[in-house]
Structures are given as structure tokens and as C-alpha cells.
């Protein structure tokens, strides 16, 4: 359960302090870029405070930014150099900053009676920011649209065509929204309590990025209705990979990773039983290394990072990493972080959050 306090911009700046904005100002950002920051991730410091760190390829911390609350998912736009970090659900703030140092940072808040679900993505040209949000009084997910040319003003919303929306992303051509509806009802009045585990409705959706109109909806079969479809990554050929968390019996062994293309049924990857057991029915993050044709997943509960061949779905590497958290394409596969302070080749006294974004093109 996390704080349900709705943080508006004024409160945010007050709580974060002037150091927050100074750290994100153009001059500071330029210095960061020169220093070689290639990853961003949220963290919790030993004193309980929260922040966002920029890190090198090896995981060395380049800079840290204090934040008033915990962030979760991040997005990066290669066209504009902007990075967005969303508050963890049921948070209501997001921060957009510019690693190229060409503009001031922007703090945005979700609309009235909405909170962020913790994920979002820029359109390829960077003109729009899409965010997964909860219309909690009506128990439905929505995608909020924010105009990057107008201070990230919230301009409208599309239905997510499901409930418990979590991750969402955008196709490379910008025409499609891909949405993971985890199917779990939550309401900020009840914190993070899951309100409908007996009748979950997980689904994977493709919608028109211009109109929000539903194009495809993949509903999981009744036998997998407690398999929450939560995280997404898009491969080079547009193939959508998804990762799941299972809310059913702990000694079930459901499939946890799958993929699909537009117009196709979803397919699950048949992992070796030991690997499925190792993932502990909980995949926390998924990433794709397009250059190397690899899919990477992590399980904090299982303490495992697994790398798959994107073409065959075969396991090519497994690594035991206690509390494995974020994963992002890195040199020679993937950079992996942990709640215990590991980040790629480094160790520090912070708890990394569950997602990492790579701040560069190429991988």
C-alpha cells in the first residue's frame, strides 16, 4: 500500500526542493550527457527518501535527483531527448526532463479523478506523451494524452479497453497503442489492495493511436484468468512481447511470457519447468535488446534474470540475482538492477525500483 496523497505541481516542487529543478536544468543536463549517462531508474535511499538516478553503462551513478515520491516506469524519446518518469501507482505526478539540455523540466499531474498506473510512452516524434491511468470511480483503464508542445498539457484520454491497465507502449511507426490491462481492479481509497482477484479480466489490446479506437483485444482463456498481463516490450519487427504476474495458487505453473503480432493470436513461450519455477509466478520487468535479438526478464520474487532468444524463445542465459528488479538493453545483453542495490556491474546502498530506461538509440 502506498500513499494516496495527490501531489500537485506546487506541492511537488515544494517537497522536492529547488535542488530538484536545478539538477534537471539545461546546464546540469548537459553535464550529465557529457558524463555518459545512458540509463535512468528510480530508487529508494537508505533514509527512506526517493529519487531518480542517471547511470553509466556500467551502472555508475552519474547524478541523482530527489523526488517527493517513488517513481516506477520511465520512457525515453530519441527524437527529442526527453525522458519521462511516472509515479508508482496510485501516484499522480510525472516528471519530464531533457537529457540534451534544450529545455526546462516539466512536472505534470494526472487529470481529476485519475491516477497514473506507473507507465507511459512518447509518440515517436515526441509530440505526444501517452500515460496509462486509472479512472478509478468507473473502474476502467484509460490512456491520458499530453501535448509536449504545450507544456505537456493533458489534452484528452482514450479508453484502455480494459481494467487494471499497467504498461503501455507505442508502435515504432506511432500508429498503434499497445496496452497491457492487468485485469485487477484497484481504487486509491483502498491503497494497493486488489479488489477483484476472484474475477480478474486481463487483456492485451491494440488501439489506434490517433483515435483510441479498439483494433484488437486478446482476452486470456478462463484457465488463465488470474494471469495478470502487466509489462510490454516491442521487438525490431514490431512483435509485442508481454510478461505476466500470476495471482492464482502459488503452486500452479502458468506460462509467464508471451508474444503476438498485429492480427495474430497470442502465443506463450514454453519455458523449462525449472525456469518457470525460478520466476516464481512473477515477472517484474521485460526488455528487448534489438541488436542482439534477445528478450530479457526479471523476477524479484524468484531472484532470477532470464535471457531468451527472440526468434526461438529458447533460454540462452539465466542468472540468480537476489531481488532482481529492472532490466534494460545494455552492452552484451542486458543491464539488471536489484532492490538490494545492484545495478549492472555496481553495488550501492539504495533499493532500485522495478524499471530502467535506456537513454539512447542503438540497442
Amino acid at each position: 500500500m502506498t500513499r494516496s496523497v495527490l501531489i500537485d505541481r506546487r506541492v511537488f516542487v515544494k517537497a522536492a526542493g529547488s535542488a530538484f529543478l536545478a539538477a534537471l536544468a539545461p546546464r546540469g543536463a548537459l553535464a550529465l550527457e557529457r558524463a555518459g549517462a545512458v540509463f535512468a531508474s528510480g530508487y529508494r535511499a537508505p533514509d527512506g527518501s526517493f529519487g531518480l538516478a542517471l547511470l553509466s553503462e556500467r551502472g555508475e551513478r552519474v547524478a541523482g535527483i530527489d523526488l517527493p515520491g517513488r517513481i516506477h516506469g520511465l520512457g525515453f524519446c530519441p527524437a527529442t531527448g526527453k525522458t519521462v518518469a511516472f509515479a508508482r501507482r496510485p501516484g499522480t505526478f510525472a516528471v519530464v526532463f531533457d537529457a540534451r539540455g534544450t529545455s526546462q523540466p516539466v512536472i505534470l499531474t494526472s487529470g481529476e479523478n485519475r491516477h497514473f498506473f506507473g507507465h507511459g510512452h512518447f509518440s515517436p516524434d515526441g509530440r505526444l506523451l501517452y500515460a496509462s491511468e486509472n479512472d478509478f470511480d468507473n473502474n476502467r483503464g484509460v490512456i491520458g494524452l499530453y501535448d509536449a508542445r504545450d507544456g505537456f498539457r493533458r489534452i484528452c484520454e482514450f479508453p484502455a479497453h480494459g481494467i487494471g491497465t499497467h504498461d503501455m507502449t507505442v508502435s515504432d511507426d506511432g500508429r498503434l497503442l499497445i496496452i497491457a490491462n492487468g485485469g485487477i481492479a484497484t481504487h486509491p481509497d483502498f491503497g494497493r489492495t486488489k479488489l477483484n482477484l476472484g474475477h480478474m479480466e486481463p487483456s492485451l489490446v491494440i488501439a489506434d493511436a490517433t483515435t483510441g479506437v479498439l483494433i484488437e483485444k486478446h482476452v486470456l482463456p478462463p484457465s488463465l484468468r488470474q494471469l495478470s498481463t502487466r509489462h510490454l516490450a516491442i521487438g525490431k519487427n514490431g512483435r509485442v512481447w508481454f510478461a505476466c504476474q500470476y495471482e492464482g495458487a502459488r503452486n500452479d505453473l502458468p506460462p509467464l511470457i508471451g508474444h503476438f503480432g498485429k492480427g495474430e493470436d497470442i502465443s506463450f513461450v514454453g519455458l523449462p519447468e525449472d525456469t518457470t519455477i525460478g520466476l516464481a509466478n512473477y515477472v517484474g520487468a521485460i526488455a528487448i535488446n534489438r541488436q542482439e535479438g534477445l528478450v530479457g526478464v526479471t523476477s524479484p520474487r524468484g531472484g532470477l534474470a532470464v535471457t531468451l532468444d527472440a526468434k526461438t524463445g529458447k533460454v540462452v542465459h539465466e542468472q540468480r540475482i537476489a531481488d532482481a528488479a529492472g532490466i534494460a538493453p545494455g552492452a552484451g545483453g542486458f543491464a539488471v538492477s536489484s532492490y538490494g542495490g545492484r545495478f549492472a556491474a555496481t553495488q550501492s546502498p539504495v533499493a532500485w525500483d522495478q524499471h530502467i530506461v535506456r537513454l539512447a538509440l542503438g540497442r
Binding site: T2, D189, G191, R192, K194, N251, P254, R301, D353, Q354
Partner: protein
């Protein structure tokens, strides 16, 4: 698919080496005590107070009087107290079939539940006066929040004068519904081979916890999330600090003066779970002071709730009371950190142990 028994994982696979020997034996003992000495008695106690509440309501309906109204209001406060102690458990059967929201629909920021209750009192609907049909109505109309308005809200004085009136019979049905829900929860946890067995015996073929680490993470999660709920969903709903506007009518049970009774119960629940489960046994001698410091902070918070003014509107307007509220906010944050970081760290769980809860 089920995990094959042949693929037996170590009970405490991910615990630090130092803690493994201890935890393999101690975790099942701690889980058993948590279930048998806190959770099951907690639900039974709630069921008993709900039973007493129903009896009081029925007596009030049959023999309306100022004395019987007072007795019913007292029974309501006792039910709030019992529920608040076990309310900290937000896992298991209580989150199935919307039981949690049926017992307590809060906060009701838009007054949805209040409007529904007021509407049915204005235009009586006999189906709300029987448990069997009340349970099919809005969850906001069938729990403690609804009964609070019946017993303490505008027009409640009529309960002392009107024999078998609708308002009273609706209230009795709510009490009956609370008894039904309390009975279901007690039965679920008492059922041999059911959830109590799953909690007590973590293992590879267990439907809830595959190993000891998962079990103890969930148990500590009750404490951490319970402490977070006190701060975020009980205090900060009406008071966020001296520089923020207060909203006294957003406080839980403000109408009946049970706000601090409830928060006191929540804190007692935390302290009781920590104590009765003997979680201190998970720690080696060098780190057992962590428990003492947690107990000290919790007791300080409990004592402060005993001194608070139950009139929340008056409390937030009074400088001395606001200082006490600031104390509660500050120390509840400290309690969360001590449970999450100090205790979690001492038993080998990283500071982020509660991170992987559905994100």
C-alpha cells in the same frame, strides 16, 4: 500445472546464510503463532462483537429507549475496536468476495455511500432490513459506515422512541451482515487444511507460500502496509500537517467519535501481531533491540491516541491537538521505516521487500 514434489526448493533458499539455519525451524513456528494467536482470535473476536451488536440492535428495536440506544452505540464502538485490530490483515479471505469493503466502505470521499444510506432511510426499502437481501445491495450500505449513520447520524434520536421502526431494523440487518461476514472469515481461517494450513506450512506444493521467505515477507508486509495505512488512509485523510487544510469530516468514524478508537485498534493490532507471532525469534541476539524500538514507538503512538480529542473538528482547530497530530504523523513514518528497513533488514529482507506487490 502444479509444481512437482520432486522439485523441492529449500525452505529458506533466499535467506542470508547466517539466518538460514534459524529460519528453517523458526519461520513455521512464527507463522503458526501469527495464525493461531492473532489472526484466528482476531476474526473470532470481531464475530463476537458483531453478535453482541446484533443483540443490542434487536433489543433497541423491540424496546426503544435512551438506555438501549446508548447500549447499541456502545456495542458499535466495541465492534469498531475489534474490527480495527484485525483490519490490518488485508490478505486472504477478507479480500475475496468484497468482504473488506462490505465490512468497511471508507473513505467515502464523494459521499456515495452516505447518499445511499440517507435515501433508503428517507424511502424505506424492506429488502434492506433483512441480511439475506441487504447483502445484495451496494457494499457502501451494508457495513460499519452505514451503521454509524443509522446510530449517530441526523435523525438517529428516533431510535430511542420508535418501536420496530425501519431505521432500527435496517441497522439490525447491518449488524447481522457484519456477524455473517465475521462468521465467514472466522470459518475460513478455522477450516482444517484451508488457509491456516497454507500459512503454517510453506513449501513447494503450498498454494500460498512456496517457501519460508515468501511467508515471512507476507507477514512483515501486514505490519508495514498496516502502518502505512494508519498514516496514509486514516490520519492523512483529514490532516496532512500544520501547513495543509484539514478535513475533519473526512476522518473515519468522525460522526460517532470513534476515530481514535479505530486508529488505536489498528495500532494495537500491529503491536499484538508482532508480539504474539514471536517474530523476535527470527532475530539473533545482536539485533533484537530492533523489536524493542518498534514496540517503544508503537506504544508511544497508542498512548497518544488515548489522549486525543474524539471531536475531530475541535481537534484540528486546536493548536495543542494539532501538535499531537504532527507527533502521530512523524512517528507513524518512523514506525514504517523501523518495520520495513530495520526489522526487514535484520531478517534478511531487503528494504525493497514490499516492492514486488503487483507492479
Amino acid at each position: 500445472m502444479r509444481i512437482a514434489l520432486s522439485l523441492i526448493a529449500s525452505l529458506c533458499l533466499a535467506f542470508p546464510a547466517v539466518a538460514q539455519d534459524r529460519s528453517a525451524e523458526i519461520i513455521p513456528m512464527v507463522m503458526e503463532k501469527a495464525v493461531d494467536d492473532f489472526i484466528r482470535p482476531g476474526y473470532r473476536h470481531f464475530r463476537q462483537t458483531a453478535d453482541d451488536l446484533q443483540t443490542s440492535m434487536r433489543a433497541l428495536c423491540a424496546e426503544p429507549s435512551a438506555g438501549n440506544l446508548k447500549s447499541a452505540r456502545t456495542a458499535f464502538g466495541q465492534t469498531v475496536s475489534a474490527w480495527s485490530r484485525i483490519e490490518i490483515v488485508r490478505v486472504g479471505p477478507v479480500i475475496e468476495d468484497n468482504r473488506f469493503e462490505r465490512i468497511l466502505f471508507y473513505p467515502d470521499r464523494k459521499g456515495t455511500g452516505l447518499k445511499q444510506v440517507q435515501a433508503i432511510l428517507a424511502t424505506p426499502d424492506e429488502s434492506a432490513a433483512a441480511v439475506e437481501t441487504l447483502m445484495d445491495k451496494s457494499v457502501a450500505m451494508q457495513g460499519l459506515g452505514a451503521l454509524e449513520f443509522v446510530l449517530f447520524g441526523t435523525g438517529s434520536d428516533i431510535l430511542a422512541n420508535e418501536r420496530s421502526g425501519f431505521r432500527c431494523r435496517y441497522g439490525a440487518a447491518i449488524a447481522g451482515n457484519l456477524l455473517r461476514l465475521g462468521g465467514e472469515l472466522a470459518a475460513e481461517w478455522d477450516k482444517p487444511g484451508g488457509i491456516q494450513a497454507a500459512w503454517k506450512q510453506p513449501g513447494p506444493d503450498n498454494p500460498v507460500f512456496r517457501d519460508g521467505r515468501e511467508a515471512i515477507t507476507a507477514l512483515l508486509g501486514i505490519l508495514v502496509h498496516g502502518a502505512e495505512a494508519i498514516r496514509d488512509h486514516r490520519i492523512e485523510t483529514f490532516y496532512k500537517g500544520k501547513d495543509s487544510k484539514a478535513f475533519p469530516r473526512q476522518a473515519i468514524y468522525w460522526r460517532s467519535g470513534n476515530t481514535w478508537n479505530s486508529i488505536h485498534g489498528n495500532l494495537e493490532g500491529l503491536r499484538s501481531l508482532l508480539d504474539r507471532s514471536d517474530m523476535v525469534a527470527l532475530l539473533d541476539g545482536n539485533s533484537r533491540s530492533v523489536i524493542a524500538s518498534i514496540d517503544f514507538v508503537t506504544r508511544s503512538l497508542i498512548r497518544m491516541t488515548e489522549d486525543m480529542n474524539p471531536d475531530i473538528e475541535a481537534a484540528v482547530a486546536d493548536e495543542a491537538e494539532r501538535a499531537r497530530l504532527d507527533f502521530l504523523l512523524l512517528n507513524s513514518k518512523d514506525l514504517i521505516m523501523r518495520l520495513s528497513d530495520e526489522f526487514g533488514g535484520a531478517i534478511g529482507l531487503g528494504a525493497g521487500f514490499s516492492f514486488s506487490d503487483g507492479d
